[in-house]
Amino acid sequence: MDESDSDPGSYPIPPASVHLSSLTPPPSARLLLSRHVTRRTRPLQSSPPLAYLSLQGLLGEASSARSIGGGGLSREEALAWELFTPYQRFLIVAVIGVAAAESKKNGVIAQLQNSVDLRPRMADEVILLDFWPSPFGVRARIALREKGVEFEYREENLREKSPLLLQMNPVHKKIPVLIHNGKPVCESMNVVQYIDEVWSDKNPLLPSDPYQRAQARFWVDFIDTKVYEPADKIWSTKGEVQEKAKKEYIEALKILESELGNKPYFGGDNFGFIDIAMTGYYMWFEASEKCGNFSIEPECPTLMASAKRCLQRDSVVNSVPEPEKIVEFAFKIRKIYCV
């Protein structure tokens, strides 16, 4: 947009938008007039009401040739203008005014549409407070990548939590925390649901049918109670406590496997809510097996096949750490907890 003059209330208007066939001015006057109605101005700074069209200024000066075009007409143009009766001049100015307002309004609508389209890419600030081996944090990373959302990943040292984490999740002081335009969302599956609802235009993570949604939520709740508790004990305990945990863990995985059935994903043909929840545990499978000295695949072959499928997805590949790093981390932590 040219910023050539100091008229902040206008928008460039295309020339020759008015037909004057119902009046009968000389053809030369019509051409000259329409050319001089174009004004190049700065874009709209605010959104004044456009439904109301002020003809005051225009009408008051409609009789004066000098006022037209913001600087007067040439001699020939002035002469042409004088050929119109005052009533004709009034009609011409009114019609041009309405056309200009329409054009201005359409221009504003186009401008607003552009800014709305641009907003997700420009105005959204998405920060994720996370911890790299966390099976909960990874869920948020995967969901954001499934939706193609740009975000800033911030690594938290859980032994020395940042002031931002303590401020954004004062109740639990845990990761992940998604901070979207300054507002925090906590609890991993809450974060995933939030991401699904905000960036709803692609890759739906929850089904649309209420019954299927209830099922998805049920199984995620199952995962976060019946899989989480024994999984946690497998790497942090030993002896009888660990043996019991291994049994409970496999039992829970078997129940999940029967829910999975023959489907490639829990979500059916599509990777979804339950799969995202489980991927946090899939990425820990190797570490759990090594800590507990057992093997999951012979017990749950179809679940393992689905796990491998999930671990190959782009959003997952870009979100999960290498399995060896998780194993290394697990053993380091195990030394501390398993005295």
């Binding site: 906590c186 609890e187 809450n190 939030y194």
Partner: protein, 227 residues
């Protein structure tokens, strides 16, 4: 049998069972209440919730939905045209409602329960402090969520009101037993007023047990030796 018949398997004293019943009442959905016998689980319950074998279970057109808060969302989504929405309209406010509902179930209610089970003054004092801390958080949450309106959900009772309000009868029983007020006009003025509004709501009143009846029941079940 009508194909869209609704049944709720539950028990009158369970706060979790109250949740789907309040939700169905708010949406004016008729349902059959199947009362479980305390201490013995019915065939239908075991068949409908084989994973957890717990109440409540909602059965809609022969399909079971389990877990109380999940049932409330299901009711809200299925009968969305039959009443105001039980969850806020923005994704952020919905995330906040779900956050507090999870907090209530995972932290607040377990600490409330442990007041009744606490042995000795020291332990009682400690758990009371926990509950009061939780109440202070929830008082602030109410102010933030309600934005000046009567309920957590705004003008009408919603998901979070139900998630918290279902515990009010048990809260009163605990207050009686301990001789200690937990939600009152001094410590939690907003929650105190909200509690009265909630309990008097026509969708809640029919399913909220009387404090005295519940206190009797509590004496009975807490008198039993541990299973």
């Amino acid at each position: 049998m009508a194909s869209d018949e609704v049944k709720v398997i539950g028990a009158w004293a369970s706060p979790f069972v109250m949740r789907p019943r309040i939700a169905l009442n708010l949406k004016s959905v008729p349902y059959e209440f199947l009362q479980e016998t305390f201490g013995a689980k019915s065939e239908l319950l075991l068949k409908s919730n084989p994973v957890h074998k717990k109440i409540p279970v909602l059965i809609h057109a022969d399909k079971p939905v389990c877990e109380s808060n999940i049932i409330v969302e299901y009711v809200d989504e299925t009968w969305s045209a039959s009443g105001p929405s039980m969850l806020p309209s923005t994704p952020y406010d919905r995330a906040i409602a779900r956050f507090w509902a999870a907090y209530i179930d995972e932290k607040w209610f377990p600490s409330l329960k442990s007041i009744l089970k606490a042995e000795g003054e020291e332990e009682k004092k400690a758990v009371l402090a926990q509950v009061e801390e939780g109440n202070a958080l929830l008082e602030k949450a109410f102010i933030d969520c309600s934005k000046g309106k009567p309920f957590f959900n705004g003008e009408h009772i919603g998901y979070l009101d139900i998630a918290f309000g279902c515990f009010l009868a048990w809260l009163r029983v605990t207050e009686l037993a301990g001789g200690h007020k937990l939600i009152d006009e001094v410590k939690t003025p907003s929650l105190s007023k909200w509690a009265e509004r909630f309990c008097n709501d026509p969708a809640v009143k029919p399913v909220m047990p009387e404090t005295a009846t519940l206190a009797e029941f509590a004496k009975k079940i807490f008198a039993k030796p541990p299973a």
